[in-house]
Amino acid sequence: MLALLAIFALVALVVPALTRALGVRVFPLIAIVPAAAFVYTLTLTPQVMVGAPPTETVMWISQLQLDLSVRVDTLSWLLSLIVTGVGALVILYCAKYFTNSEEGLGRFASVLLAFTGVMYGLVIADNVYLLFIFWEATSVFSYLLIGHYTGRTASRGAAMQALIVTTAGGLVMLVGLVMLAEHSATASLTEIIDREPHGAIVTVAVMLILVGALTKSAIVPFHFWLPAAMAAPTPVSAYLHAAAMVQAGIYLVARLAPGFADTPGWRPLLLGLGLFTMLVGGWRALKQFDLKLLLAYGTVSQLGFLLVVVSYGTRNAALAGVALLLTHALFKAALFLIVGITDHRAGTRDLRKLSGLGREAPFLAGFAVLATASMAGIPFTAGFVAKEAVLSAFFEDAASGSAAGWVALIGVAVGSTLTVAYSARFLWGAFARKEGVEKVRPVHESVPFLFSPGLLAITGIVLAPLFGALGTVLAGYSTLLPQHHDDYALALWHGFDVAFLVSTLTVLGGLALFFARAPVFAGQSRVPALIDSSRLYRQSMRALDRVAGRVTATTQRGSLPFYLSVILLVMVGAVGTTLALNRTWPTSLLLFDGPTQLAIGAIMVVAALSLGGAKKRFSAALLVGVTGYGLAALFAFHGAPDLALTQVLVETVTLIAFVLVLRRLPARLGKEHGSVHRGVRALIGAAVGLLMAVVAVVALGARTASPISEALPKLAHEIGHGNNVVNVVLVDIRGWDTLGELAVIVAAATGVASLVFLRSRTDNLPRDAERPRKQSLTSRFTPSPELIAPEYVPGVQDPSTRNSWLLAGRRLAPENRSILLEVVIRLLFHAIVVLSLYLLFAGHNLPGGGFAGGLVAGLALAGRYLAGGRYELAAAAPFDAGRVLGFGLLLAAGTATVPLFFGAQALTSTFFEATIPVLGHLEFTTSTIFDIGVYLVVVGMVLDVLRSLGAEIDRQQEDASDVLESGSTI
């Protein structure tokens, strides 16, 4: 069974490709799959009959009670036969219905087969969650099938409406299923029903499940999607809207009835809605001109009828219910297929335009008569046998004094009268000759086209005498229900009993209604529609749209401060609530760890507070710097020298970058443009500050277990071969974090460069123009003539013949130059670079490391740039920042991945040591290579900032002033 489901899925996946090759011939091919499932189900009959239902289970997520378990008991057996048998015939029929030129044929074939598969899965699923998955899958596939004519508005609208109604019902059902499964502590449908649970929770759960069943089976007030779904191709209507999907709700009610028919509210609700649906559907079917719509309302009516019978809860009603389920699938599918052929032939389904089709297409008309007879319950058809059984079941209950029995009996009798009337209307409308309407033209009747409807219609007749035998199988289901009366046996003829009398009366009444159709129709058009659910649906959808629009308009204002405020307020609210419920508080609260801390803290607070009112950009930048340097001091006193070092360096680089940008912005920090709600912002700020204070205290209070980092020093020394625990953590123990961080930095640096350069990130430093890429060490110190701008250096006689030591400073305007600074920086540069390398390599055992080293090197470059301008920077860093970043990341990632090739885990470090003459004892760990990568990435980042925010902005500024001087406009 599970294998069959898998085959359905696999074949459905390859069907689009097959269709491309085979066209409509693909349909007979894929019809084999449901046909195989049909035959397989037939072979299970003996097991089903002896009451040993075959089951299959594949464990999936047992902790959530999610298992792939299927079970074929009598009810599932019957439904499996219906969905696979009718499915195979409908798919076969499609081969003649469509042509190769049909748009989306492959998708259609694939979805139709997939639908058949999930429908089969739905009726055999035993796990409630599996059932739900199949249930929703049928909704989704039905959406795709109804919307097959993607170009038609009606088609798309109908598909969406069916999807929304049935999935909404499905979701409600899911809640009920979860409640039921949780209450019963099992997700097995069989077990849940066997236990017959009671109680308020169960009642609610069952009602929620029924909502799903009622939406699926188009019961009033959810019926409106079904007539609209007639926008689907007719084979789809024949299958989904007659035999398969709409019967799923009926199936579920039938499935639950043995366990839950006594649930409070079950009987009145289902009996009432069922009868009402039956009458409304029949009434509306009488008004239709489109044959397909007539059948659609007829189906709504029949679904109501089925609901009444299967939910009734007595053994005989249950037996009648399943018999009716079978006959309905047969005759309704046949009739839809016949309408399809009619439309195919005549180009219309409007009964006002059809005349004389019966004579031109006698076989079609013959099959239609057989199917309609079964629908109307004319004696000696399968429909008659089922109707007799229903009427008998209700009558015996009514006779024993049950009011519900009387209601059901009378309601069903009236409903059946309408059924007979619209059946006659259907036959007359499709096939009769009508005055004043042009006769249809003759067309040869195609046997393959007639095969499916013919077989279904004939089965509806042949089945009638076989019902006696079938009844003994079906008893396997009906005996699950309590016995109130003598067991009824399905039979072709029960004699002239009350049921037969009622049945005859309905046929006569129906025919009378049909012959009096003119006055009836006139009367109908005077009665206003009682309820218009589809209007209600449209209104609620429109209201939903409007509410969504309002909510969007209110929340999506396009204001960044507003969004941020909302986010922060939510954070304050949510985290604040959690904190209020907190039980772990620190044991004590010290005022300070030392007087220095207090002093530093005071400075930081003052700086931060004055920042709020700062008017000038530069002073604001400095005030932020104060808090940063203060933080570095706090780190130092906390026992974190690495942090202090890095913080000081980063703060310095940030300050430099800030100043570089600031020089292009006006000095004053602008008005507080549009930032009107000063008080509100202050309030939010204070709230966040307070919240974070409590968070800090609570988090500290939660530190009760001994931290894992107690083991880190030993690990760092023995495995990482380093004494600086923080550094070993960064490059070895938690190297993945660092690798991720490097990626972030590379991305940020690239972002900076692309924001400033716009086109290419390599085109700014002037070295390419001035000096060849490959140069000898000596030529490096022999600047090419272009490098020297003689107009700025009046004192130099022959610059090209001298070795220039101050490389590019003379490119600067003299008033901007500080020779002293240039010389000092030039002298210090190499020493600082050496220091940065020392920090890099010493960092494994002493404070330092790749981050600190890289920042120091970056500061050295920044010094060169600040002293000598962008030409100096180009001379100091004759390499591309992007390549430095990339190479650094490559080194780090390489160190992470290379161990994989040696069978070790990623980032495993290897240690080498050797005693070399002169140099002495040397130690080396591969994580140092990782640290070199870090170093390079940081250098690249700083270089990128200098190149972009420094050199490139200089260049753009110079360009701009050139343009201004030459008097042209940009």
Binding site: F592, T627, L755
Partner: protein, 183 residues
């Protein structure tokens, strides 16, 4: 575990001023706020890392300060730098392009907000009375006439509805575009 009130207060002030500035429209102030919040967060990690101690170097005597949060802070310091550099480039770009250092409201968002519920619902009605029409094997003479006529009536009623809906929405002071829905 005891906490240092000084550190907590400093952190709270940094957060408060930082958020205060983040909520402004001047981009430079937003950047300053970001830097403050960054510093405050590093301080938060420092506070929750426990008591101060000896710098964590293997072999040194005494109680170590917790090294793991220190590694986190180190990572965070450098990332904060990367993001601030990016913000600075953004500010520069905005200044170059618009000569403005201000976060403007997104005009498209405002526009979206103004268009309330203009999404047209496709009508779910029974379509034409045929899938084949004149393509049918032996189409009746008026295979499409009646269908066409009814479709037009349908459309008229749809348009009527939409017009009513439109006038309804317009009376709410909203713009409404019916041209597309009329199809």
């Amino acid at each position: 575990m005891s906490a240092s009130l000084t550190l907590v207060v400093v952190m709270a002030v940094l957060y408060a001023v930082g958020v205060f500035m983040l909520l402004e429209r001047s981009m430079t102030r937003v950047l300053l706020g970001f830097l403050l919040v960054g510093n405050a967060t590093n301080l938060l990690i420092l506070i929750v890392s426990g008591r101060p101690g000896v710098a964590p170097f293997f072999g040194d005597e005494g109680t170590f300060a917790d090294p793991l949060p220190q590694a986190f802070i180190l990572t965070s310091i450098v990332i904060t730098f990367g993001v601030s550099a990016f913000l600075m480039a953004l500010i520069y770009r905005s200044w170059r392009l618009a000569n403005a250092d201000v976060v403007h409201d997104d005009s498209e968002d405002i526009e979206v907000g103004r268009r309330t519920a203009a999404i047209a619902m496709e009508r779910a009605v029974a379509g034409d009375d045929t899938e084949f029409g004149t393509r049918a094997a032996a189409a009746v003479a008026d295979a499409l006439d009646l269908a066409e006529q009814e479709r037009k009536e349908d459309e008229a009623s749809v348009n009527e509805q939409l017009r009513m809906q439109a006038s309804h929405t317009e009376s709410d002071g909203a713009e409404h575009d019916t041209t597309e829905e009329g199809k």
